[in-house]
């Protein structure tokens, strides 16, 4: 059976390991052939920035992993527009080219289409 699953990632990239563990869940769901998507909102949008240098804190660059998601069949990647705006971030600063930008109303609609939300 295929279900619509949406990972909602709302934490900044390196404060805890949750954002990275959310990606592991996304990859597992893709292996199991589920309709998986990822939505970045609130501080989760910081994960998407293209100029990250986490080597200095012994971390792996999360944006590089995110860019690889389409290779694993995860193409539904979304970002909440207002979360970007309220943090003074622009689309040009994001590492992913094919990310879908959603308004608050679009997010509401997206959430409504899911069977389950996986919050991280």
């Amino acid at each position: 059976m295929n279900k619509n699953l949406l990972i909602v990632s709302r934490q900044p990239p390196y404060g805890s390991s949750l954002p990275r563990e959310a990606l592991d869940v996304a990859l597992a769901a893709a292996v199991y052939d589920q309709n998986i998507g990822i939505l970045f909102m609130d501080d989760g949008v910081f994960q998407l920035l293209n100029k990250q240098n986490p080597d200095t804190i012994s971390q792996k660059n999360i944006a590089s992993t995110l860019s690889a998601l389409p290779l694993y069949g995860i193409e539904n990647i979304y970002v909440h527009k207002q979360s970007l705006e309220s943090r003074n971030l622009t689309i040009e600063e994001l590492a992913l080219d094919e990310i879908k930008i959603l308004s608050t109303e679009d997010v509401a609609q997206l959430l409504d289409q899911q069977d389950h939300l996986l919050s991280f």
């Binding site: 699953l5 949750l18 563990e21 597992a28 769901a29 199991y32 589920q34 389950h116 939300l117 996986l118």
Partner: protein, 127 residues
């Protein structure tokens, strides 16, 4: 209705563990089915047999362990190994001198989380 839960929080560090436990017992009391509880991230600490909480506090480990003896409570193996939660098999594999996973929990992969979402009508995350 079929429920599954995900627990990311460690016991005692936040209220989420207690809330998840109360939610699980409440849904069973109301006649719903509990398909699985998947412990991920810091939630894997629930399965240690070595924790000794103060006697004047609720023993969360004991409460969860009892639930684990009757239902399918799964510890994420990757998250557990990283945090020092091992069964005897993994202790042997990684050449460790001790193991601490309670027998009532099973050690498995993220596929069990995904499977829980497929099987269940409701999937609720704590922590």
């Amino acid at each position: 209705m079929i429920f599954s839960l995900a627990v990311y929080a460690a016991p005692y560090s936040s209220q989420a563990s207690n809330t998840a436990y109360q939610f699980a017992t409440a849904l069973l009391e109301q006649g719903h089915a509990l398909h699985r509880i998947f412990f991920y991230h810091d939630g894997v600490h629930h399965a240690t047999t070595l924790a000794s909480p103060p006697q004047d506090e609720l023993n969360l480990y004991q409460a969860w362990n009892e639930l684990a003896s009757k239902h399918d409570l799964v510890i994420c193996i990757a998250a557990a190994l990283k945090r020092g939660i091992l069964n005897s098999e993994e202790a042997k594999r990684y050449d460790k001198s001790a193991h601490n996973l309670s027998d009532n929990y099973s050690l498995s992969g993220l596929g069990q989380l995904v499977d829980a979402t497929i099987v269940s009508d409701r999937f609720i995350t704590f922590g």
